[in-house]
């Protein structure tokens, strides 16, 4: 514990406005922009657009599951194409892109007190390659044979065989090419985020004064830079198997009575590569959400985040541990069964730092001054859904418990709750929180209340009961849940109910999109710091911040990001760039 650094202990800012590339035309200002904030909005808009495609796909599959046999156009091929594209879009092209490309670009430079990302040109390229990846992905809807229907895990051999939609057509090729492009684009952005956090922090901004949002995004980016290469090589190898006839993942196979020209490959090798990426990917989505929600709770409860240092170490610890748990996705894959002992142990160990984070969020609420703003509501809903989804992870992570539940609707319910609903609730909360900084206006409160309640309660009513369908034993990835002795009339009704809730929750998202657009012009004027928050992005001279973020002088940081309700201080918040000692402030050193 140290006292606040007095102002005169820090040399005055010597950093003038850096040599930024200032745009000269409309094109370089808004389209081929090198300003991280514009790139962030481009990323977010593209991710939202492709996310709407995923939303419509989820409606289509819920039509089939809720009302089987009613909609003739949803053939099994089409159904598998819907689930595959829905999953891939949501995990990669929406969540990863939005958290890192969207929030990362907007918030990192502003929160660490930098003028921009350190490599603005590469940052711009990152977005355009991402856009190209999205366009390649979308093009597969129009290719002969349609998109791939291999499931988002793309397991070979079926992913590149005739019995799977798109397997011997264009679908799988376009999918793999799109992923490869995405990873290239992401790497350009990711290197930027990491170097910016490490090298471009303003004076006084020590690592242990970073807001948890930055810690979350930073750690997730480091993880992504280490995890995506595994997916990259898996995609390249499968592309070779499909296009050049190699046999990386293809053993000897008899397909529909015909011997294929493959031999010696290992299908399970792909699964190891995929999940070596795929499990860290869960935390690549979760850690930014952890970070952001910590800041939302602290700001709107007017209280410092409880146990800041523990929170930082939990983020780093979860990030590191998440690289040694991947095979818990493969307990029934046929890998050597003794792996189960190791991976179950590591998986359950990761529950400890995760639980600490949950405790610290609720302990931040304790003895707080809780303002039930829309961002706070979303943060509370996040805790509920994340705790729920995290706890069902203890079922699936505990190897033998996973055996009956694996590949059932229980898994679908679990991962939607924990890495679908929970992070997306944080995204919504974050948008309500930072929209005033991005546009200068508040989002409409009434529409926000409607959006929140329908989304939270609707999503909970979709995914909580779904666990019990899995407990019955209903398998996932069934285009028809009909010809089964375990399927009961009441389970059919539950499926119909879940579908109806899904349509309602989807509708609420359209209301939200309307709010986003409508409030740009008609929202209430926000001012520079409507939430009375401490972090640097709220202290910019102008709102929205201009290119270069902070005007002539960069801010100097004197304190951590969580000086809320400091005893003795006049206001209930002290921004990070305010000098002076307030005696009782107990910033963790």
């Amino acid at each position: 514990m140290v006292d606040i650094t007095p102002a005169d202990a820090v040399p005055p800012a010597e950093v003038g406005e850096m040599e930024l590339y200032h745009p000269h035309s409309w094109w370089t200002k808004y389209v081929f922009s090198q300003d991280a904030k514009v790139i962030a909005i481009q990323y977010s808009a593209t991710a939202t657009a492709i996310g709407m495609v995923a939303l419509v796909l989820s409606w289509l599959m819920r039509l089939q599951l809720g009302f089987p046999g009613t909609f003739d156009f949803i053939t099994p091929e089409a159904y598998y194409q819907f689930i595959t594209m829905h999953g891939m879009i949501m995990v990669i092209y929406l969540l990863t892109a939005l958290f890192l490309g969207g929030f990362g670009n907007y918030l990192i430079p502003l929160m660490v007190g930098a003028r921009d990302m350190v490599f603005p040109y590469v940052n711009m390229l990152s977005y355009w390659i991402y856009l190209l990846a999205v366009l390649v992905l979308v093009s597969s809807f129009f290719a002969p044979g349609g998109p791939t229907g291999a499931g988002w895990t793309l397991y070979p051999p079926q992913a590149i065989m005739t019995g799977t939609p798109g397997g011997q057509d264009w679908g799988i090729i376009l999918m793999l090419v799109s992923l490869i492009l995405f990873i290239i684009g992401f790497t350009m952005g990711g290197l930027n985020y990491v170097v910016t956090v490490l090298q471009a922090r303003t004076r006084g901004m020590t690592l242990m004064r970073l807001p948890l949002t930055v810690w979350g995004i930073f750690t997730a980016t480091v993880m992504a830079l280490l995890a995506f290469p595994a997916l990259f090589v898996a995609c390249v190898m499968m592309l070779f198997d499909r296009a050049l006839g190699t046999s990386f993942f293809m053993p000897a196979i008899v397909e529909m009575g015909e011997q294929l020209q493959h031999s010696g490959g290992s299908p399970i090798l792909f699964q190891h590569l995929f999940w070596f990426f795929g499990h860290p990917e869960v935390y690549i989505v979760a850690l930014p959400a952890f970070g952001i929600v910590s800041d939302l709770i602290s700001t709107h409860a007017r209280k410092n985040i409880f146990g800041y240092r523990m929170m930082v170490w939990a983020i780093v610890g979860i990030g590191a541990l998440s690289f040694v748990v991947w095979a818990h996705h493969m307990y029934v894959s046929g890998m050597h069964p003794y792996f189960g002992f190791f991976f179950a142990t590591t998986t359950l160990i990761i529950a400890v730092p995760t639980a600490i984070k949950v405790y610290n969020w609720v302990l931040t609420l304790w003895r707080g001054d809780i303002h039930l703003t829309i961002p706070m509501l979303f943060a509370l809903a996040f805790i509920v859904t994340f705790v729920n989804g995290g706890l069902t992870g203890l079922f699936l992570g505990n190897v033998v418990v996973d055996v009956p539940l694996s590949d059932t609707m229980f898994v679908v319910a679990h991962f939607h709750m924990v890495m679908g609903v929970a992070p997306i609730l944080v995204i919504f909360g974050a948008i309500y929180h930072w929209y005033p900084k991005v546009t200068g206006r508040m989002l409409n409160e009434t529409l926000g209340q409607f959006h929140f309640w329908v989304t939270f309660l609707g999503a909970y009513l979709i995914f909580f009961p779904m666990h019990y369908l899995g407990l019955v034993g209903l398998p996932r990835r069934y285009a028809e849940l009909t010809d089964m002795t375990i399927m009961t009339e009441s389970a059919h009704h539950l499926n119909s109910f879940i579908s109806i809730m899904a349509f309602m929750v989807g509708f609420a998202q359209i209301v939200f999109l309307f709010n986003l657009i409508w409030s740009i012009r008609h929202g209430r004027e926000a001012g520079g710091n409507p939430w009375r928050a401490t972090t640097l992005e709220w202290q910019t001279a102008e709102t929205p911040p201009t290119h270069g973020n902070f005007g002539k002088d960069l801010p100097i940081v004197y304190r951590w990001a969580y000086d809320y309700s400091v005893p003795g201080a006049k206001e209930d918040f002290i921004p990070q760039n305010v000098p002076g000692s307030f005696g009782t402030s107990k910033e963790p050193a």
């Binding site: 099994p76 598998y80 499931g151 079926q158 005739t162 019995g163 799977t164 939609p165 397997g167 053993p251 000897a252 196979i253 008899v254 397909e255 529909m256 009575g257 299908p267 410092n304 409880f306 146990g307 800041y308 240092r309 029934v332 894959s333 046929g334 189960g340 002992f341 400890v352 610290n360 304790w366 003895r367 001054d369 809780i370 303002h371 039930l372 706890l391 069902t392 079922f395 505990n398 190897v399 033998v400 418990v401 055996v403 009956p404 694996s406 590949d407 909580f464 009961p465 019990y468 034993g473 398998p475 990835r477 285009a479 010809d483 375990i486 809320y564 309700s565 209930d572 009782t584 963790p588």
Partner: protein
Amino acid sequence: MAVALVLVLVVVGSVLFHLLSPWWWTPIASNWDYIDHTIIITFWITGVVFAAVVLFMAYCVFRFRHREGNRAAYEPENKRLESWLTIVTAVGVTALLVPGLFVWSRFVNVPSDATEVEVVGQQWQWSFRLPGKDGKLGTSDTSNVSAENPLGVIASDPNGQDDVVVEAADLHLPVGKPVKMLLRSIDVLHDFYVPEFRAKMDMIPGSVTYFWFTPTRTGTFQVLCAELCGQGHPLMNGVVMVDTQEDYVAWLGEQQTFAQLSAPQQTGSADPAPAGTVAPGSRISAKLETVEAR
């Protein structure tokens, strides 16, 4: 106020749903009630944690909601509290993990008196092979698969000649005898899954995987494929009948051995069209029709 109430309702509703809903696991038909017990332990521990966290949140939201003149406490850390919570969590996690690993070690160690039964998956049907009088299954290889030898049994292996081959039909098992299911696929990943047995395992072309269980009651059980295997995946059903010993022996007597099946056939069998003359798409739709017709 409303928010706190909703949070309480979420907990109460979830608990009531768990207790009252009609959706629960199917009556068990194998020795893996250990797994069911482990699930129950997990439900108790996780349920208590869920209720405690959300109810505490509801209390905080109600008690510490913003009112004019309120000010939050200032307490960045509390080492004692944080250590206690870490220890309690670690204990809870251990309480889940230890029984889990204990049951897993039973699951992966097959008793020595288990009979081997081979399951072969292909798009989109199940076939089975049982050892003959010698009690041994002959070796097999996917590259041997043909219309006459659908499971790819290696003819030169004497152990394989008396193997009982059950192609695309029901499997029968005797009640009360442990079986080791040897799982094989000749095309893509499949997963042999009978909900009442609780056990399942993927089948990988090029490898042999396994699980074991003891059927504990007679009856007819549906086999489902639990690993996405192409567009016919939901149609890939099969049947396992658990019989009394007498019924099982009677059924076994009616089955044909590999040697009988591969003996040259006299009458003009309906030769499948030579490979390559039929477009793959139509082969798949033909296959799907036969699967659906069953």
